[in-house]
């Protein structure tokens, strides 16, 4: 069957003027109505430079992922077209793919090394949405799209819906919007849900991995509600001390290989530093976010067993 492949637009590139406009609007809203400045020049510049680098990286290395998907497409048992209902289905399945990728990105240091960039700002505003990785292709996570290709969806369609997904996630990077209506919060990813995801408060660590649909977190037990009494602290468990985009881009890769190549480790321990969750230590029985949550509950036993926290 000869498919006529539509000329899908690159939505994230086309959206650049809208990104700029919304950032300026957010800056205005924060100053005018909240009397907080919200933005900081150096932090914003770094975020934008990471975004620019991400676009450049995509232009240079995009052929790698697309090439693999195109190769895999040759093995499909059926061919799916481009009717609107297939686009919707592809979007939903790709959103599940995003959830899986995002959960791996927080629980496997090899992938965290590229994703950490996005979490490295202690600010939470629309410029943070553009703080993206330069090294995504090196994690190999594009292979998660192969199942969609083998289902019969064309790589061009998968890339298109992936772009829509990323576009959706722009507006949720803000503190200017509280909670959306309950029905919306129940199904969609929202600023409230995503503030939890970016927070380092013990209960909020490793939660709300959604791209567009929060239903995956609800289904797979990773959903945590934002609480008024637990205001999010943004950034990393160990915050970075630089605005230099090069150091921001590569710091976790450097730290990860430093850890893995230290002398005196077994091969298994070295693999642990590469693929176990961020914060894992070979000489600690409990480490990383598990240790932080456990420590919090031990100090605050009344919080035991609440969403995002272990039971004592």
């Amino acid at each position: 069957m000869d498919l006529i492949i539509p000329n899908f637009p690159n939505v994230t590139q086309l959206a650049i003027p809208a990104f700029v406009a919304l950032i300026l609007i957010e800056l205005f809203v924060l100053r005018r109505f909240r009397n907080v400045e919200g933005f900081e020049t150096r932090d914003t510049v770094t975020s934008l430079m990471m975004g620019v680098g991400n676009v450049v990286s995509g232009l240079i290395f995009g052929f790698v992922a697309y090439g693999v998907l195109t190769w895999a497409y040759g093995f499909r048992p059926i061919t799916i077209g481009f009717e609107w209902y297939w686009i919707v289905l592809c979007f939903v399945i790709d959103d599940l793919r995003y959830y899986v990728y995002h959960r791996i990105a927080h629980r496997c240091r090899w992938v965290w090394a590229e994703h950490v960039i996005h979490h490295s700002s202690q600010h939470y505003n629309l410029s943070t949405a553009l703080r993206q990785s330069w090294t995504g292709v090196f994690t190999g996570m594009f292979v998660l799209r192969i199942p969609l290709v083998l289902m019969g969806f064309h790589p061009a369609l998968i890339v298109f819906v992936g772009g829509i997904n990323l576009l959706y996630q722009f507006w949720i990077h803000t503190e200017t919007i509280g909670k959306m209506p309950r029905w919306f919060e129940a199904v969609m990813n929202t600023p409230s849900h995503h503030r939890v995801h970016h927070a380092t408060n013990p209960r909020y660590l490793d939660a709300n991995y959604a791209g567009t649909l929060i239903i995956w977190d609800r289904m797979f037990g990773t959903f945590v509600e934002e609480l008024e009494e637990d205001i999010p602290n943004y950034g990393l468990v160990k915050n970075i001390g630089t605005f230099n985009p090069l150091r921001v881009a590569f710091h976790e890769w450097v730290d990860m290989f430093r850890d893995a190549l230290r002398s005196g480790l077994t091969f298994r321990q070295r693999l642990g530093y590469l693929f176990n969750p961020p914060g894992w230590r070979h000489d600690q029985p409990v480490s990383g976010s598990e240790a932080i949550k456990l420590d919090f509950v031990e100090r605050n036993p009344e919080e035991s067993g609440k969403p995002g926290l272990p039971s004592l």
Binding site: L14, L27, F39, E40, L59, G241, T242, F243, V254
Partner: protein, 134 residues
């Protein structure tokens, strides 16, 4: 989208945002005081009980010492925010007493050097003595 158009979008967009944030954003960091330093450090290290807190003369840094277990920690201003570090053996590549304070060369890819300003020579030497060895 042609590369030239994309480049134009990016250059104009980045310029507009950066200029606006510079004019209307908040670029003035707050100086540390003992209360802020304690609160900020114990948020990241809740088991740490600092009995001694020394704020640098410029208000950018704070050194916290737990007398109970001789541990020390650092709060360092990064832009408008702060970061914290527990100082253990091996955290510092090098420490240097200077005429204005202490230069701490940190074993940290994103935080190379902290210049802890302390004009008081006696205090400077006291603080130097509490820092963990390299």
């Amino acid at each position: 989208m042609p590369l030239s158009v994309l480049a134009l979008f990016v250059v104009l967009g980045v310029s507009a945002v950066v200029v606006s944030v510079y004019v209307f954003g908040d670029n003035a960091g707050r100086k540390l005081d003992e209360n802020t330093a304690r609160k900020r450090f114990t948020r990241d290290f809740p088991g740490f009980d600092p009995q001694t807190i020394v704020i640098s003369d410029d208000g950018y840094d704070a050194l916290l010492v737990s007398d109970n277990d001789s541990r020390s920690g650092l709060v360092h201003r990064i832009g408008k925010n702060y970061l914290t570090r527990l100082l253990e053996r091996g955290s510092l590549r090098k420490m240097e007493l200077t005429g204005q304070g202490i230069d701490l060369y940190v074993n940290d890819f994103t935080l190379q050097k902290i210049s802890f300003s302390l004009a008081d020579e006696n205090l400077r030497k006291q603080v130097f003595g509490t820092l963990p060895s390299e």
